[in-house]
Point group: C2
Chain length 600, copies 2
């Protein structure tokens, strides 16, 4: 059994960085205490080690198959859904009123991180179910809630997000799945959905799709989209499950994420597929985005979880693998050294560590904002909501993009062995690659950040973020050892102001299309600053701990934190300036480039 | 059949950029003329389309298996080896004295590019055979040449490079395979070699390993390594092929490059494996490096070939796939546009195009240096040899590293479909990933560039390179449209001088270990400048063509070149400055980082 997460780092995050126990001072979380949080984490680790990790490779090598119209998945899935249901994991974040435990997201999210690091595909089943059930509890009628939610939280019924259609991938406003009102007050659904994760399988009794569709004669575009519950099997009058006329047209053979099926579904081929409206007519996209925003954070979390597993695999290997000698040692008769002692290998490991722990820190920061949002009011509630909104595209895109490089770097640490199935890192690269695509591609995240989040409420979120960073810089300045980092982050924030100012001018003078043309790079630029901020927060805590009484083990741990912060500031943050130079170039290159010029 | 290379770009390269027909003025190449070069390229394209591309996916899905001690490969391999042998492809670069055609490397290399773009795994068989045969002709006795080379050039016998051992990957000085002199003047070989590409298979009658081993009692380290021919089957006195006691211990299941086996071989388990010395005793590593340097160029070529195939797949898809509307078009009733019209998609395509065509240009530049080296003498010969030596690590590492990002970006252009086996791009990412590892990892290339090539002969190669670039800048300055690019490249060259000067100081003051600690990043930095230089060369040719009479089609082509040069200078070259800042940081971070700090 290889290590896939660091327990010490998790404790550092939820105790030393985010002091999550203070949440229990709020009424909503008051049933919990720190010990209970520890127990949740321990239980998650045990479940991951016992149930998830052992089938990581097996689920990859034995992907789902479509047989006689039904998707057969690895037999472990049934067990996992049962354990996640009966163990209360699917429900744990729900309110007590809905059968949950009201566990703060920062704790539940940490558990998700552990699960995804042990076996990402396996987590898709319960996590999607939790997200779908939450959507029903938020906007569905009591009848819908009573019918579906308990079975979902129990792990007996699978939940899905059914958005994408073959002719409308990223462009949701172009979906054509249609809902025809019928005499019973519900709808007949007709259409095709594609890439539906866990869209059908034999590990559960039923599959509940939270599906976007347009009610017949609804307004065109996004304003005419509604949200429906469309089950694979519906209940007949006697309470028996009967077919609801959904056909699995095909499943995809994928590069990775092979433990979970992505299905193409066809609804209403026999004109007998029923759907139930969730929330208001034509408000489907708004409703769905509640689940979507959570899903984006989860995607970021899963990305850094996979990168974490790859990092610890690489770390273990580089510590054991002897190869070569110090650069200054020419005598071939001396012993070879473990490759971790080569500077370039240390660089590769520091890069991975900086991505994994920097990303996790940002995501838990987002979870903390969500937890605080839940228990606060007015101004304050708005503040947390805005910060969460602003940072969601970063929390989704940075880990998923850097996760590709990070897992690829883990392969590089293994050399030729990393390219082979004998070690898990090649699977980690395949698994992580989906995350820059699903739940909104990186391009979509860039447009969301620059086109929406940076400018919403007159830039209020962006200003709140600057305040947060200023606060961190101020604290850092109190320790002389951190002065350099405080200064560098301050400098980067100035550069951000400059770039943002430049781009706002562009928007005014040249139009929104030029303004948004390098949105993906703006996101990359912004992310480097955001992650540096998270590293400075970690550096402050590490420096403080080191100045007190510290065991040898802890001294090593905190020094590791300081070196990794150093790495991020000295190897990664400088990239922000190249990106800034690019973003303030006036050429409009990609707007002017013509399709015809690509020919030949 | 999808496009995998641009015929137009190939013609641009070998005619407009490198004017390869002028090589026929030299005696050695005088049997050829431009028309014959064209025929070679056309024949390569036909072979790639007819024989290689159709089995690209099939060879991936049906990888080699080890059955009863022999490796079974896809049946296409036999056909491919036969065609490459009988068609004269394996021999084409050889001198006439050795049964070849004396085709310049720039033409033969272009054919290799075409083959690798159509099906990389398939090309490994003949290309490795050509390299191994060349090593025998260069250093082997007449007897060895007569025994092995004709069968190899005919495609009947496979050639391999057998260097790596389980305990000695990148550290060749630690190999322990031993050659014991016997009474017949040859050697008994004992040892294990691993990751041997095409190390055994049933597509040929015999496999000829060019193997590194240490003669019993040879000096320790690299100075005691010799080169041997070790055949799978040797000829007995009657001229029959009999077993030479090599056992296939296992073959690897790999992420990609699945069409060719990587085998672990055990020599001399029955004490009956014979080897024949090639060249001088204890000079094996020096001899092998002739093949190794060619192999590194070929790896770079294959990387940009795979990236080329991925790019054209992405281009085709993005031109056909409608999705979304212009940013300024809010009306959902208007038609969706092909995604190639979105700025971010154009950026992704320009990135791929800049990597593919920039890398190809550099590699053909290296081929041209090799061709000129062959036919020149004294000072001039040395100049070409030094430039080739200097640029080889760049030609290997830039395409293989950027090839990962480029193919990954091709996947991104496809969205979810790119993650599925329905399109070839996921295979291209898997296939290309090996290239940053085999024939010397990127880390090894960085050490080679900074530790050896930059300083050899008192930096003479580095100075010659500066002269080459200065010449290009001078030419560029003659066209006002290119002034910006001439200036930017000049600026980057100044930065290079600064960085190199800084690092040479570090070497003196802090020692060679600190000097080399960021060698990989120096390679990245240097590569950005080298590729910018190649783009400026292309820009000069395009600008010149545009100022004359140009068909509409050609106008588009040359504008494509100018936009892509623009892209590289404005999006990629700026990254050199972040890298320079990093390289001139004084922290020695990766040297000081301790293994213990990674724990926990």
């Amino acid at each position: 059994m290889s290590k896939f997460v660091s327990k010490r780092n998790i404790s550092f995050m939820i105790k030393e960085i985010f002091d999550s126990k203070f949440l229990t001072d709020f009424d909503y979380y008051s049933r919990h205490n720190e010990k209970m949080f520890d127990m949740v984490i321990d239980a998650a680790l045990k479940l991951a080690v016992k149930l998830m990790y052992p089938v990581l490779e097996k689920m990859d090598r034995n992907p789902p198959v479509l047989e006689n119209g039904e998707v057969k998945v690895h037999k472990a899935v049934k067990k996992i859904m049962k354990e996640f249901g009966q163990g209360g994991w699917i429900a744990s974040g729900f309110s007590e009123a809905h059968g949950g435990d009201q566990i703060p997201l920062i704790i539940r999210g940490t558990a998700s991180f552990i699960f995804a690091a042990s076996n990402y595909s396996a987590t898709a089943y319960p996590e999607l179910t939790a997200g779908a059930a939450e959507l029903i509890t938020s906007f569905g009628s009591k009848e819908l809630i009573d019918t579906y939610v308990p079975k979902m939280l129990d792990g007996k019924w699978q939940g899905t997000m059914a958005l994408t259609e073959p002719q409308a991938g990223s462009s949701l406003s172009d979906i054509i799945t249609t809902a025809y009102p019928d005499e019973n007050g519900h709808y007949k659904i007709k259409g095709v959905k594609t890439f539906i994760s866990a869209g059908d399988h034999d590990g559960v009794e039923n599959v509940i799709h939270l599906m976007l569709a347009k009610i017949e004669n609804a307004p065109p575009g996004a304003k005419g989209i509604s949200l429906f519950v469309v089950p694979k099997k519906r209940l007949d009058k006697k309470g028996h499950l009967v077919s609801n006329d959904i056909t699995v047209a095909s499943i995809y053979h994928k590069l990775g994420y092979r433990g979970a099926p992505a299905a193409e579904l066809s609804m209403g081929e026999k004109d007998d597929c029923q759907g139930w409206l969730v929330g208001e007519e034509n408000k489907g996209l708004i409703h769905m985005f509640q689940m979507m925003n959570d899903a984006r954070i989860l995607v970021g979390l899963a990305s850094c979880a996979i990168a974490s597993a790859a990092y610890y695999a690489a770390l273990e290997y580089t510590e054991k693998r002897p190869q070569g000698r110090p650069v200054t040692q020419k005598d071939p008769l001396t012993k070879q050294i473990p490759i971790i002692e080569h500077a370039d290998v240390k660089r590769m490991l520091l890069f991975q560590k900086s991505v994994v722990e920097g990303s996790l820190s940002l995501i838990l920061q987002c979870c903390m904002y969500a937890d605080l949002m839940k228990v606060s009011k007015g101004e304050e509630k708005e503040k947390y909501a805005l910060l969460l909104d602003l940072l969601t595209p970063v929390a989704k895109a940075f880990p998923s993009e850097q996760g590709i490089f990070s897992t690829s770097t883990a392969i590089q640490c293994f050399g030729g062995y990393g390219y082979c199935e004998d070690f898990p890192v090649e699977q980690y690269l395949r698994d992580v690659r989906i995350h820059a695509i699903h739940e909104g591609t990186t391009g979509i995240q860039g447009m969301d950040l620059l086109g929406r989040k940076m400018v919403m409420k007159n830039g209020k979120a962006a200003l709140l973020f600057m305040e947060e960073v200023k606060q961190t810089i101020k604290t850092a300045k109190e320790a002389t050892e951190l002065e350099y980092f405080a200064k560098e982050l301050g400098k980067a924030m100035k550069e951000l102001e400059k770039v943002a100012g430049f781009l706002f001018n562009v928007a005014g003078e040249k139009g929104i299309d030029v303004y948004l043309s390098d949105a993906t790079l703006f996101l990359e630029f912004y992310s480097l600053i955001v992650i540096s901020w998270q590293w400075l927060i970690q550096g402050i805590a590490a420096q403080k701990a080191l100045s007190g009484n510290c065991s040898k083990k802890d001294t090593h741990f905190y020094n590791g934190k300081l070196f990794t912060m150093n790495y991020f500031f000295r190897y990664e943050l400088p990239k922000a300036y190249s990106l800034a130079a690019r973003l303030m170039d006036n050429d409009n290159l990609t707007v002017n480039m013509k399709t015809a010029y690509f020919k030949d």
